[in-house]
Symmetry: C2
Subunit: 257 residues, 2 copies
DNA sequence: TGGAGGGTTGACCCAGCGTCAAGGTCAAGC
DNA sequence: GCTTGACCTTGACGCTGGGTCAACCCTCCA
């Protein structure tokens, strides 16, 4: 006969676990010897090892109970399902490994691949890291708000970048220029923006974009804070009857001052 | 700005989990809008996704905290260790899968392979399943008590089985014979047993075997109950001055009756 | 005879949330 | 302006599978 610790160590579990199984009724309480010690037989070993094998597979103890007390067919069916879950779990862990590797490599898991590609294209145009980070955060917010539209939105941005005007516009975001009033580039930027806007208005692309006002306001203020020349550009555009930045609009004539 | 449920669903976690991370200090509490709702920015998205990636890898939240607040090198080292654990976990699950398959196939996980082989050899000798089960349970108990000796014990049993006497002896355990007193095979079994004992005594192999008395008594009584002829054999042997079955001994002369 | 090394029960503790409970808020429709 | 339904808030309890004491008993060996 076996003592509890012999049983436990042979089955590879702790004494505490065996007692736990007794308490939850998973393993029947065995006979006691005259001093109250539990004494186990071979059947207990077999049952305990079956319990462990299932529990190691992540099966909840209640389910283990059901399975062990079920018919052979039910048992086989249950085991098959457990095996399916195990395979899925293994795949999940492998997936986690690759995500972890990308995390360690500094990759931005918060962004879909399409956005990462778009940012890389901007980088290729010589756009500075400071601006890229701003865009990146904006895209994270956009992706979080409309995750299933993001790929098509990015596709449209890529098309826009095929326009030389747009490329020229982005090229102003290189490095850390401290533009002062009177810089001729300010007028150039304003000209480009106005051309782009007019084209957008003609294409009927202006209006509701699905983003909330708070977000648009945030984007605008962030842009103004980070791009020193932006304020000057906005002033020129305002004179010409436009307002906004992230979401540009024709200002109604009666509100022009 | 994002609400808590937008943040949560984009990062693939529950709202409850996000609040939990706030409570444990893993994710800083963000600003609230005027009605008390939490409003999140891109940095929160990034941090939450890093948290999830690590937590999905099974890292405890406290360790996630440490890692995210650590230097890049510490982080890389930590991630490497986590990846090692993940690989180990995947291997463990694969191992569990194969154990599960053996369990479903009815194979006896409670026994080391050497014992399974030995039982198969007995089966090959024509020994009945009823007796095999008795032996199996006995071996389970032995293996549980002295797990590291089991292989060498089995090796010795294999050697014994090379002896034709032993083979003949086991052949009596076939089927379900109902031996009655006077059956000539009883004397034959007793003769064989006596020869084997004498040889064992001469080889000095008799005496302490490391099993406890209770176990030996259990084996004896089980054997007597299950093998109808055993009692008759024992009677003959007793006359000749031997006692026991599982552990056979010369009976001291003064205790012979 | 006493100390080590088993055993016994019982009670509390842990992560990582899930799940009510009991409300306050917001946008939309009537 | 009122209702409805979807979200938001905090707070408290529950769950798994045991770990970790605590306080005590039993057995064995020197």
């Amino acid at each position: 006969m076996l003592t509890i610790s012999q049983l436990a160590s042979y089955a590879g579990v702790t004494v505490r676990a065996v007692r736990h199984y007794h308490k939850v009724g998973l393993l029947p309480e065995p006979e006691r010897d005259r001093s109250g010690y539990r004494t186990y037989d071979a059947a207990a070993v077999v049952r305990l090892i079956r319990i462990r094998t299932l529990a190691d597979a992540g099966v909840p103890l209640a389910r283990v109970q059901e399975l062990l007390d079920a018919s052979a067919e039910e048992f086989a069916g249950g085991v098959q399902e457990i095996d399916k879950d195990l395979r899925a779990e293994i795949r999940r862990l492998q997936d986690t490994r690759s995500r972890l590797a990308r995390l360690a490599a500094g990759e931005h898991l918060a962004l879909p691949q399409s956005v990462v590609g778009y940012l890389d294209r901007l980088r290729g145009l010589g756009v500075g890291e400071r601006y890229i980070e701003l865009e990146r955060d904006a895209w994270i917010m956009i992706a979080a708000q409309v995750p299933d539209l993001i790929d098509s939105v990015i596709a449209k941005k890529h098309e826009e970048l095929d326009d030389p005007d747009m490329v020229r516009l982005y090229s102003f975001f290189t490095g850390e220029p401290d533009w002062v009033a009177g810089d001729p580039r300010i007028v150039e930027v304003a000209d480009i923006l106005e051309r782009l806007m007019i084209r957008a208005v003609e294409a009927g692309e202006v209006g509701a974009d699905g983003f909330d006002d708070q977000f648009v306001a945030l984007m605008d203020s962030t842009m103004l804070e980070s791009a020193p020349g932006a304020e000057l550009v906005l002033a020129i555009l305002k004179e010409r009857g436009w307002s906004g930045w992230t979401r540009i609009e024709r200002v109604p004539a009666d509100r022009l001052n």
